[in-house]
């Protein structure tokens, strides 16, 4: 794929991630645990990772976090968002690259969701100076199983169709 087309597609992915993030923040989550989200924007990172590679996925993840902070407007959420997407991107890359025989995209996505939650709880406990915040982690992990499964399944279908489209248009 040529540079310009790639640039346009990546920026499209960033804006899709942004839109998903905003929709997600409007949606009430039917769980008791605070801070639980569907992680829809993780889908964008996963799709980028599968279609392009690690560097592009990281770029999309970081850009999405920064733009999302500008939209939502609270600077403290930048740290949570950034740490979550960077760590989950790393984890998903490692799992996708080296363990793709053992884990399907659903497994990769669950790993990403777990890493995302872990990073956010870690940053929260550092910023709050209180290690008890980790008591949220087990509940968040259980929820991330379901959200990770959903995100993985959705990206699987999206990637299948996108690869087909790419072949007919660009190659």
């Amino acid at each position: 794929m040529k540079g310009l087309q790639k640039l346009i597609f990546l920026s499209l992915l960033v804006s899709i991630g942004l839109a998903l993030g905003i929709i997600e923040s409007m949606m009430p989550v039917p769980f008791v645990a605070p801070g639980a989200k569907l992680g829809l924007s993780n889908m964008v990172i996963l799709i980028t990772l599968a279609l392009f590679g690690f560097r592009e996925a990281m770029t999309v993840g970081v850009l999405k976090s920064i733009v999302f902070t500008l939209v939502v407007g609270s600077v403290s959420s930048l740290f949570y968002s950034l740490s979550g997407s960077i760590l989950s991107c790393f984890t998903m890359y490692i799992v996708y690259k080296y363990f793709s025989k053992t884990f399907s995209l659903i497994g990769v996505s669950i790993f990403g969701a777990v890493a995302h939650n872990f990073a956010q709880v870690l940053v929260a406990s550092i910023m709050m100076n209180n290690i008890r915040i980790f008591s949220y982690l087990p509940i968040l992990l259980l929820i991330s199983l379901f959200t990770g499964y959903f995100v993985g399944l959705t990206s699987k279908f999206a990637i299948k169709n996108l690869k087909k489209t790419f072949k007919t248009i660009f190659f």
Partner: protein, 127 residues
């Protein structure tokens, strides 16, 4: 759809999180008298020991980070008003066990229930 590795991963995570949930609940049972510790930006702002006389009291917390109104109940505590955009702390409702926390990230507020006869607090280790 799911590979073998996926299934093992899911089972592993379920076991880990259930075990740690049980552990957290168990470690909360050892304490006798409880108190509420209200922390703003990592420092203790106020502590309230549960008592018959404080039931139904409301405590306004106004700091440079924001405003929250806390209500003390019978051995439990909740946030009833907050000026943060997401209102997660209000939605969480009451907490009553030792170790449970209400966190309001935008206002840097942590409300934690602690045990009085807790000999070694976590803070002793980290500072």
């Amino acid at each position: 759809m799911l590979t073998k590795g996926d299934k093992y991963l899911i089972i592993f995570i379920i076991i880990i999180s259930l075990l740690s949930l049980v552990f957290i609940n168990k470690s909360a049972l050892h304490y006798g008298k409880k108190y509420v510790s209200i922390q703003v930006d990592g420092e203790e702002f106020k502590r309230i020991i549960f008592d018959k006389t404080v039931i139904g009291k409301t405590i306004p917390i106004k700091t440079e980070f924001g405003y929250n109104l806390i209500e003390i109940g019978d051995e439990k505590v909740r946030v009833i008003e907050a000026d943060c955009p997401d209102q997660l702390d209000v939605k969480q409702g009451y907490i009553s066990k030792v170790g449970e926390v209400i966190v309001c990230l935008p206002n840097r507020l942590v409300i934690e229930i602690k045990g009085l006869d807790e000999k070694r607090d976590v803070d002793y280790i980290s500072h």
